[in-house]
């Protein structure tokens, strides 16, 4: 059976792969949206944090013998701590001035991270084995899907929706949102707003690291893996609406699917389809699909 001249099998197969990619986009743009939506920081270092998360996973396997499941917990903790450090020592000085400076600072940090890792590991990349439990593949009929990729879809969507739920539907989330909208008032209630801000940034960083661990067995762990993705992830966040958490999750998944479709019909364009969509969305709905004008 053919859809627009492409066999159904190929079509569904690419959609499936698109869903896998979409899960990554969703997780990464989630962290970015949390940081921008709540703190107003354009975190260009997000890709680097993702990369460091993957390397922590690799390192903990290679040198410490800790397996994948440990890494899932360890990497976010380590990178979260790193994020907290960055926020405390550098970012907090920039809140009062033009937000462009925090963008430039995080950009510089990303370059530093990339350079250091490049120097240590070269660009060729490290391999990371799929954990035993998730090895093998399932024949879905229209394609053979490696089990690990199914896990990726499941894990990222769970985490994304979980995070969204916490921020939008729980009291903690409400406090967080209030604290960043009107810090003085919330502080007057006795809540330690600076600490909350630090933890928020650390949380975003941890999400990036988690995405990195999930990605490690799928793609090569290289120092450039973050910078390759960061621009696309930014586009996703902008399309979704820079303040909207749900927007970025949905847009991330949707983009993965659209990219998958593009690869079937017009593969060369698969890299730019996100930017075309972004340009169109910004012309029609400047605040993004789910965003609110600030």
């Amino acid at each position: 059976m053919d859809i627009f001249g492409i066999p159904l099998q190929a079509f569904l197969g690419q959609l499936m792969l698109g869903l896998v990619n979409g899960s990554f986009y969703a997780m990464l743009s989630l962290g970015l949206a949390v940081i921008f939506g709540l703190l107003g920081i354009v975190n260009f270092a997000h890709g680097a944090l993702y990369m460091i998360g993957a390397y922590v996973a690799w390192f903990s396997l290679e040198k410490l013998g800790l397996n994948y499941w440990f890494a899932l917990v360890l990497a976010p903790l380590v990178v979260g701590a790193l994020g907290a450090l960055i926020e405390r020592t550098m970012l907090k000085h920039l809140y009062r001035i033009d937000p462009i400076y925090s963008l430039l600072l995080t950009f510089g940090l990303a370059l530093i991270a990339e350079g250091v890792f490049r120097d240590q590991f070269g660009v060729s990349g490290q391999q990371y084995e799929v954990p035993e439990l998730l090895q093998g593949a399932t024949n879905l009929g229209f394609m053979v899907l490696p089990n690990y990729r199914a896990w990726v879809i499941f894990a990222s969507l769970t985490i994304c929706l979980g995070t969204w739920f916490v921020i939008e539907k729980t009291k903690l989330g409400a406090t967080l949102r209030a604290g960043t909208e009107n810090p003085a008032l919330v502080q007057a209630f006795g809540i330690n707003v600076p600490l909350m801000v630090t933890l928020t940034y650390a949380g975003g960083a941890a999400l990036a690291a988690l995405a990195g661990v999930l990605a490690a067995p799928v793609i090569q762990i290289t120092p450039l893996m973050g910078s390759n993705l960061i621009i696309v992830v930014f586009a996703v966040v902008v399309i979704g609406g820079m303040g909207s958490i749900l927007g970025s999750i949905l847009t991330g998944v949707m983009l993965g699917l659209v990219e998958g479709l593009t690869k079937v019909f017009y593969p060369e364009a698969s890299n730019i389809v996100v930017f075309v969509i972004m340009a169109i969305v910004l012309m029609v709905r400047p605040a993004g699909l789910f965003g609110k004008e600030k």
Binding site: V42, M90, H93, L94, P99, I100, Y101, L103, L104, L105, F107, G108, L109, A110, L111, I112, A113, E114, G115, V116, R118, D119, S227, I231, F234, A235, V238, M242, E268, A269, N271, I272, F275, V276, M278, A279, L282, M283, P286
Partner: protein, 315 residues
């Protein structure tokens, strides 16, 4: 920070110009200097937008690179003479700037930067896919030709002085633009846009014109670079170059005239000097300079120098 308002400023300009004129004879490699000057033109164009108008474009490399490819192809495959190729590149970049600007100008601040980034990425991928650019291999074998049909440019020395002449002209032009009434309005927009609007200025038109001027000059830089080096590659349209030009302007001093030039020469010199010695650490150093500048050195080299001068005068 006005031009030639003090004797010391005149001294500095004179010394700078003198250095440029004698550089090949005191042992500086002309091709390096020419490349550095092209980036200086690029940084000056960027500064016109960021330093004097207050708009951060995060995709400026796309304009430099597109002109680089266009000029390269016209001179190599269509047989155009170099000065027409330069003109074509400049105009193309300006036209692209008009298109991007029309889409981006409606947005402010970060959103503006993101839109320019998105558009630049699209231009990057077009350059990657379109056959004439040569994709990963680049557009190569661009001859230097003869300027106006009479002055052969094969000699590095001859081309060097042509590049210096272009650079000085661009520099002077930017100074004229900034000091003109139009430039004053740009300054007003940068400092307090709502005020400017309330005074009745159509700020979008002013900003758009600044954007187009900036992209056109960036295009000139790219086109010139193609003639100097003989090729145009994807590095010229890559977003990391967009980041570098921000750094050059920031490091040199936003909103000053000499700032972007100093910044460009420093960064290019640094990259050249360190590339063979420390390899990957060049990226780290560039990143570190970014961080230091943002945290502690926001005025940049020239900015700090001028501020220090002011403080001394005030005593």
């Amino acid at each position: 920070m006005s031009f030639s308002s003090t004797n010391s400023a005149r001294w500095a300009w004179g010394a700078g110009l003198a250095f440029l004129l004698v550089a090949p004879f005191i042992g500086v490699y002309p091709v390096f200097m020419m490349t550095a000057l092209c980036f200086a033109i690029f940084a000056c164009a960027f500064n016109l937008l960021l330093g004097f108008t207050g708009l951060l474009s995060f995709g400026h490399a796309a304009f430099m690179g597109s002109a680089a490819y266009a000029t390269g192809w016209l001179v190599r495959s269509a047989g155009w003479s170099p000065e027409l190729g330069l003109l074509a590149g400049t105009l193309l970049a300006g036209a692209l700037g008009l298109v991007v600007g029309l889409i981006a100008i409606r947005r402010q601040g970060i959103y503006f930067a993101m839109v320019t980034l998105a558009m630049a990425q699209m231009i990057y991928f077009v350059c990657l896919q379109v056959p004439f650019t040569g994709g990963e291999d680049g557009l190569q074998g661009v001859p230097r030709g003869a300027l106006f049909g009479v002055l052969p440019l094969q000699s590095d020395l001859v081309l060097y002085y042509v590049v210096v002449a272009v650079f000085v002209s661009v520099f002077a032009a930017i100074i004229r633009i900034v000091h003109s009434p139009y430039g004053q309005v740009l300054k007003a927009i940068r400092e307090n846009e709502p005020r400017a609007i309330s005074l009745g200025y159509d700020v979008d038109r002013y900003k758009l014109l600044a954007f187009v001027l900036s992209t056109a000059i960036a295009g000139l830089a790219g086109a010139l670079k193609t003639l100097v080096l003989g090729f145009a590659t994807l590095s010229d349209v890559h977003w990391s170059l967009s980041g570098e030009v921000v750094l050059m302007t920031l490091l040199g001093g936003m909103g000053t005239f000499a700032g972007p030039v100093v910044g460009a020469l420093t960064i290019i010199g640094l990259q050249n000097f360190l590339a063979d010695r420390v390899g990957s650490w060049v990226t780290v150093i560039i990143g570190a300079i970014f961080v230091v500048c943002v945290l502690a050195f926001r005025k940049g080299i020239v900015g700090e120098l001028l501020a220090w001068q002011q403080r001394r005068k005030a005593r």
